[in-house]
Each structure stands twice: as C-alpha cells, then as structure tokens.
Symmetry: C2
DNA sequence: AGGTGCATGTAAAAAGTTACATGATTTG
DNA sequence: CAAATCATGTAACTTTTTACATGCACCT
C-alpha cells in the first residue's frame, strides 16, 4: 500500500539497516503500520534500484555486518511529494469482534478469556506509549514542526488504546450476565 | 484471514446473495471487516464446494435473478468451532498518520484539510451507528445472548469513532500553531 | 432502440505471509 | 565444538486489489 513511504519515513532521522527497520516497525510505527522483515528487504531492494535510497556496509564487532540504508535527495523529494497524493486507510480486521457476533451461552466463557487477554496486551502497549510520551513529548507546543506530527500519531495510538480498555470493561461487564 | 467466517456469520440471521453480502460488509460489519464483491463471490464458491453453504436461485421482478446462499448444518458447526481457535488481528494501516510523520510548514495546511475531511466522514459513519444503537439496542441487558455480542461489536465501532473525533480536534488545534 | 443500474462473475497484478536457507559470531 | 542469535535474504503460497466482462431488465 505505502510500504515504500513508511520505510522512507523511518529513515528521515537516521540511516538504518533492514533488521533495524523491522524492529522499528514493531515499536514506534507499529500501531498504524506493520511490515515483516521479508517485506522490508524486498522493498529496500526496489527503493535502491529506483535511486531513492543508497546503501553502505558497516562492520560491527561481535555481530555480522549490516547494510545501512539512507535517503537520497531524490528519495526525500519523492516522499515530500507523496504527502499531497490520495490517502488510503486499510481499516482493522479483528477476528475477536467477528467471534462476538457468534456469542452463545456455550462460548461466552471462552470469549471472556480472550477479551481479558487482549486487554492485558493492549495495556502493556499503552504503557510503552505513555512512557515515550512522558520522555519525549512533555511539551507538545514547543516541539519542532515535524515532531509535532510524530507526537500526534503517538497520541492517536494512545487514544485508541485507552478507548479499547474502556470497551473491554464494558464488554466484560455485559458478558458476565450471559 | 477469516473471510469465510465473516461471510458465514453474516448468514446466521438470513440467507443472502453475493451482492447483498457485499452491501452488508460495507455497512454493519464494515468497521471491523471489509471485503470486495470479487472476494466474496470467490469465497462463496469455495464454501459451497466445502458443503458449508447451499444455494438457490430466486427470480425477482424488475431485477436479474439472484442466488441466495444459506448455511448448512456443517457450516454452522464449522463456524461454532472456529470461535475456539486462535484469534488474529490485522491492525489498521493509515496513510494519514504516516503523512503526519512528514509534517512540515509547507504541507501543514494540506494535512489540516485531510484531517478535516476524515473527521467529516467518521462523523457520518458514527451517526449511522448511533441510529442503529438507538433503534435496536436501547436496552442491552435485555437482549438475547447472541445479540449482546453484536451489540458489543457495534459499541466498539462507536467508541472508536468518538475517540477519532476527539483526536481530530486535538490534532487540528496543534496544527493551527504550525 | 439505447442508456442505466443490478447481479454475477473472471483474469491478472500487487501485497503480504509462511516456510526455509545461509553465513557469521558469540556463548556455554 | 555445539547451540543460540543476528543479519540477510529467497521461494512458494495466499490474500487482496484492480481492471475488465456479461447478461438482464427496466426506463425514456
């Protein structure tokens, strides 16, 4: 969909290798963009061929060599232009909600378990985001322009998480009566 | 991912044709599951071959014939069992948040426009959901078991929407200072 | 009779997932 | 030296999207 731009955006601040990008996607960008390392390596190759990225090998002590990718001028230009193009959303697909459509006396207990587990997962994620917010975005209005955007994306993730926790509580309450 | 189950779930209450299913997916299930009519027709064929759905042709006055699909006993069984299996989530991919990572003085105005537009879209969707809630789910605790689950899914959509509106306001406020 | 909308599909391409492969380097 | 981990990939498969195709029936 826009994996190319997601990768290039990750490279705005620093040059990264494929595996570093993969780890990054799981963390900071993870709540609104995901990509496996296999996808990333393939896309990196394409972007290099297009001339939007350059690469250089870096020797590491104690680890195998890695290949760092960085934005070229053409890459930065392409990314900046992309912002003005059409925007697509690929909404969530959540099997848990689908399962709820199949709620019965039989499976209620099982679904309560699943919701409880998800609540836990989301709470941990939320804790991570809150930590980042406190550490880096204590005073949003004072941030440099681009970081304001990053902050807003983070806020979106936090809002989403909090909303989900509230929903879990409501769901568990109603399911308790089944 | 679980398109088969999404389709079968839609057929729990009534037999539907391919195009009716496609319309349904845009509406009620749309906020947590999406599928194009092309996908649906292919999946319907597979499910019929598996013996989970049966089909019958219906003549219509003023319209071409349609083919109604309904759950077989085997289909209902398979769906009920599926609930106990592993649950996957495919989180949102949203280009708008990715674009925000690229915020600059240059493009701030454009992004304000995009957010405003999205806010409008979500508000209309939310209005639809609220209408459904008022009409069919005024007294959740009194609902038959399965409908409690449907109600909770709807609630999730409403929460999400409200959360998004709040985020938009916060974003627009911060962006106004860029 | 020609245009429009509905219902049903097929085919090809793109995107994403799953499974596997390889070399290098620390660690036990 | 065997096992574990990291970094980099390839190949096959599945899912999803995009583009196109067809027939029918109403409406003007």
């Amino acid at each position: 969909m826009a994996l190319a731009q997601a990768i290039m955006t990750s490279l705005l601040d620093a040059d990264l290798s494929g595996s570093e990008l993969a780890r990054d996607f799981e963390k900071s960008m993870g709540f609104f963009w995901q990509a496996s390392h296999q996808q990333i390596y393939q896309e990196l190759r394409k972007l290099s061929q297009k001339g939007w990225l350059n690469k250089r090998e870096v020797n590491q002590t104690g680890k195998p060599n890695k290949i760092l990718y960085g934005l070229t001028l053409a890459g930065r230009k392409a990314l900046a232009d992309w912002v003005y193009g059409p925007t697509r959303v690929q909404p969530t697909k959540d099997e848990l909600l689908l399962k709820l459509y199949n709620l019965s006396e039989e499976n209620a207990e099982h679904l309560i378990g699943e919701i409880t587990q998800r609540r836990e997962e989301v709470m941990q994620r939320l804790y991570l985001y809150e930590t980042i917010r406190r550490r880096h975005y204590a005073d949003p209005a004072a941030l440099p322009v681009r970081h304001k955007g990053v902050y807003l994306a983070l806020e979106s993730g936090i809002h989403q998480g909090e909303q989900f926790l509230a929903w879990c509580d409501q769901a568990l309450e109603l399911l308790a009566t089944v």
